[in-house]
Symmetry: C2
Subunit: 162 residues, 2 copies
Amino acid sequence: MSAKAQKKAATGATRLRDFRHSLPMELLKAREAAMARFRPLLRKHGLTEQQWRVLRALSEYDSVDASELATRSFLLAPSLSRILQHLESENLIRRSYDEADQRRLVVQITAAGKRLFDQVAPESESLYNTIETEFGTERLESLYELLAEFYQVLDQNSSNTE
Amino acid sequence: MSAKAQKKAATGATRLRDFRHSLPMELLKAREAAMARFRPLLRKHGLTEQQWRVLRALSEYDSVDASELATRSFLLAPSLSRILQHLESENLIRRSYDEADQRRLVVQITAAGKRLFDQVAPESESLYNTIETEFGTERLESLYELLAEFYQVLDQNSSNTE
DNA sequence: GCAGTATACTTAACATGTTAATTGAATTCA
DNA sequence: TGAATTCAATTAACATGTTAAGTATACTGC
């Protein structure tokens, strides 16, 4: 028998619930399925998923400080710090310091950054629409709602014990 | 005005759907909310989330080859390769080569690995139950179903054009 | 006005994610 | 059977995730 996957006979030892029911992994699979659609597009434009999140957040503002940007692009400060340095080196964003509070980094998208955004955004939107069509608008809406409820409930209850 | 977040007046330029409606990011937020509950436990035992996924998958088998393990723990080959080397250096797993096909790496959990698993699993299960209680069993089931449907639909349609 | 503390960001260190290239083994088929 | 191809795993290179430590600025209270 070639060792492909010899399922262990159920012993008395610890068993978790069926591995199928691993919530973080199911969320990861769904996310990966979606990202697999967007990654080729971003790659074509030399962007990572995270860099795109930053550009996308910046496209909505004239200027944002780094903390706000981290929240909006859902990135941790160290990651954002590196990403901003990288984006600046490619002249897609500008960094400066808030006059009123020198600790704060103020970030702006450049004209080149905006052009790149305007180039990618329609294609991204199109891919999103494809997903919506395949999965169905209603189910997609349900998914959005459940996801938001889920993290709101968990974040809420977590913040109590911190 | 201290630059906190100067929302840009709506111009004629490209606008994506509302930023809330970024599916990959919503999935990421949900996943992060869940992982935030498990990470302290894993950390206490010196494990990363991915290492735990591997141990968990291995706990169900006497021996598995690396490809199968990658599928079950949802890790890419390069990541799994590094993780297995690390876990072996800590004597939590054993690696060997399939006699019938020397390309295949056969992986087994060690006694020490099983002990660690048995130590972490109950606590992990407990945390999971807490989440289920907070969010509600029914909504959680709905979420599982939607997630599985989602990635099945997307993966299915993706595999056609590859 | 200054010591102590808090805040915002960066750097460091290590692990993983992602893609491409590489290595070695098995398979195919002329 | 042997060259070409396929396959399984690893390595390489660069980007990000995660936690801790570091740095500079701002605030607080005495």
